[in-house]
Symmetry: C2
Amino acid sequence: MSGIADVARLAGVSKSTASRALTGGGYVSDDTRRRVSDAASALGYVPSTSAVSLATGRTRTIALIVPKVNRWYFGAIVEGVEQTLIPRGYDVTLYVAEPGSNDRESLYSTYLARKRFDGIIAVALEPDDADLERLANIGKPVVSIGNALSGVPTLGLDNVAITRIITQHLIALGHTDIAFVGSTPPTDAPAKDVDERSIGYRKAMNDHGLAVRIRSVPSTLTITDAYAAAASFLADAGSRPTGVVAACDEVAIGVIIAARRMGISVPTELSVVGIDGHDYAEMFSLTTVEQYPLDQGVEATRLLLSMIEGTDEPARRTEAVTRLVVRASTAPPRSA
Amino acid sequence: MSGIADVARLAGVSKSTASRALTGGGYVSDDTRRRVSDAASALGYVPSTSAVSLATGRTRTIALIVPKVNRWYFGAIVEGVEQTLIPRGYDVTLYVAEPGSNDRESLYSTYLARKRFDGIIAVALEPDDADLERLANIGKPVVSIGNALSGVPTLGLDNVAITRIITQHLIALGHTDIAFVGSTPPTDAPAKDVDERSIGYRKAMNDHGLAVRIRSVPSTLTITDAYAAAASFLADAGSRPTGVVAACDEVAIGVIIAARRMGISVPTELSVVGIDGHDYAEMFSLTTVEQYPLDQGVEATRLLLSMIEGTDEPARRTEAVTRLVVRASTAPPRSA
């Protein structure tokens, strides 16, 4: 098996230069780094990372914390982080735990306390004040996606503004009887996002002197839970709204599937708008405000790397990109 | 900041015993381990894992390799692995790369070569002979989910038998004109699974002297791609089958959504069966063979831990649990 001495010899540099080139522990020219790297590849040499880690204090590992993986939004973020870190030779340690679960406690006491990473990407994290202090005490750079954390650069949506815009879209079409379909916390979705979205809806309705109607999706904001809730609140034609502002696309899609099964025509009898730009939005002709969680994962990772490597002074809050896409799930109400 | 000496003093043991208890590097009684662990928690002491790793050769990290995260099957496996490892204090480094991608190459040359883990869980991995040799040379325990790898314990389905059973379910209802809706490799789904499933379908059709009809879903076996394919192959009433065996539930659901939009009644005009037990199966009243990827993630992780800790001689192939669930997407054909 080849050692660092063999790599140094093949690259024509000293052992200490070869070591610096492979571990990132000090200045080496790009040309030398490439020669050493090629020599290491040719010989199949990979440095022991435990030793590298002790020597440099760097782990070349990023901690990624998400409440769920098996949801479109969270899965897309994870893929964006992976796509950015793999080509740079970083490892990603993934920690999946929902707020309120047992595993959520060991997040701070074990996983984060071990500090086996150079920085943290926290998705939809809802730390209390004690948690925030523990997070700060770790002394590693943190970037947040979704929820704004005090003192931490955050990539997120202006949920109030976005929900106001899609509610106004229905009002502009002539709807006056518009329900917000969301949930009451706690859910496994980012509760703060949902709360902000219901505020945006309320504001738009209040601006136009229209009555606020909230329809709750029990438990989680998934397609299946929204479908079950819609099957119930759409049943009575007398109390049925003509427009639905869904807290997210998965809720909107659940409502559309329920409506179709019940013979309620979308958009003739019921207009539905969502927020997300979910993979299934086009298939259901859903009018929505798109966001791009995969790109958010990429952006957050780049920001974190610049903080780790000290190359940039990052902004404190970055507005994620969004775009209103009008499709065929919205139309004027029949009475208009 | 507290050191190992403080922990040892509080627990009433020697420094070397405290060190063994915290790192797993040698025998310590359960009672002592608990006392040391409690003392460490009380003092907020967490051992430096780089030092532990050099001392013990253990990283308390598991490598998890998946082609995608943002699909029901893969996402559920990741969650099962996480749920099993977090309470045991292990980290999970996640590596997401599709077969054929650039990142797939650095899987072997960088990620696996660094050996920053005690064992590997490989999901739907399709190594060639050279890859398999590299995998074996790493010298760490490996468990496979999905595809059977030579010399590696595998947790998977008997895809041929399962697809035969669901095809026979349609034949028993009186269908003779049954199409298999799947894909031709390469796709991002486990190609071997799909191939095995098409073989199971062919066998059942051949057993009954019925004509084999394959409908390809271009690109990936997702709901959206299957929806697009079905919108095309269901259009001509003359060539339309009365039964569809879908390669997986996502394909089946795409077919059902397309059929509903085209006014084709399921099951009166079209019976559809799937394989998976997807979260959406019940919402679409889908007859399917359920599998339980979250449980598979849990089982594979337990098996890997027993190999790492040397407590068990694992079986070479473990059949994953499945169950046929008959719902309302299947009925006798109208002509029967």
